[in-house]
């Protein structure tokens, strides 16, 4: 396996992992009824921005510009995570939402973004000669991963509209704004 092919496979794996993480967040939201806060949504959007860079690599071939998109997305996502960590850093503050292996999800989110930045640095080192043009491999698995990513982005768009509508999201959301409005409309009729 040459380096270019390995880098392509790792990009595919990274996009699959991002899709899985976003899917896990959806499971928590739907199954356990935990509505995402505005900063949680920003972290999800950061992950999606990271995924856009990988998607560009998979669709158009590996280029430093695409890794730049990934790195910028990771930096903004990490900033949102740090913001939330700092909001709950005071002694005695229980933090927001549940913990997972002893840390809150926003802390794991920060760790993830740092790992992504490190991973992209490794991927940039993997190849010393970038070629623009068609991707190295374009199999069914990669196609499925790209389509799944599109579906999860659409899911986040719909979910955010249902939760916040066209206005600013509540700081500590407890209900879906649009879903409640719709149910009230149906009950009124």
């Amino acid at each position: 396996m040459n380096l270019q092919r390995l880098a392509f496979s790792l990009n595919s794996l990274a996009l699959a992992l991002i899709t899985a993480v976003l899917g896990g967040a959806f499971v928590e939201q739907i199954v356990f009824g935990e509505l995402p806060c505005p900063l949680c949504l920003l972290q999800r959007a950061g992950l999606i921005a990271v995924g856009l860079g990988f998607l560009l690599n998979l669709r158009f071939g590996i280029q430093p510009l695409h890794y730049g998109v990934t790195l910028l997305g990771a930096l903004v996502g990490a900033a949102a995570s740090v913001r939330q960590i700092l909001l709950h850093i005071a002694p005695g503050d229980p933090g927001y939402s549940k913990t997972f292996f002893g840390y809150h999800l926003y802390t794991w989110s920060f760790v993830t973004f740092v790992c992504i930045i490190a991973g992209v640095a490794v991927l940039l080192c993997l190849s010393n000669k970038y070629q623009s043009g068609r991707p190295v491999v374009s199999g069914k698995v990669t196609g499925f991963v790209m389509l799944s990513f599109l579906v999860i982005v659409l899911g986040n768009l719909v979910s955010t509209l249902l939760e916040c509508g066209l206005t600013q999201c509540a700081d500590d959301p407890v209900r879906y704004l649009w879903l409640d409005s719709l149910s009230r409309t149906f009950k009124a009729h």
Binding site: P38, L41, L42, L56, R59, G73, L157, T160, G165
Partner: protein, 50 residues
């Protein structure tokens, strides 16, 4: 907040439909808007309601 996901979805569609340059451009716009919304969340000073 929806505007970030809407832009990301449009970026995905453009990338998957094979539009290279506009796909990169909309991805960068998505990140810029995301950063703007984060700044707005921290300062509450920007004249937006997203």
């Amino acid at each position: 907040m929806y505007i970030v996901f809407l832009l990301a979805f449009i970026s995905c569609l453009l990338i998957l439909s094979g539009r290279d340059r506009i796909g990169v451009t909309t991805s960068l716009i998505t990140i810029a808007v995301l950063a703007g919304v984060l700044v707005h969340h921290m300062t509450d000073k920007l004249p937006i309601s997203l």
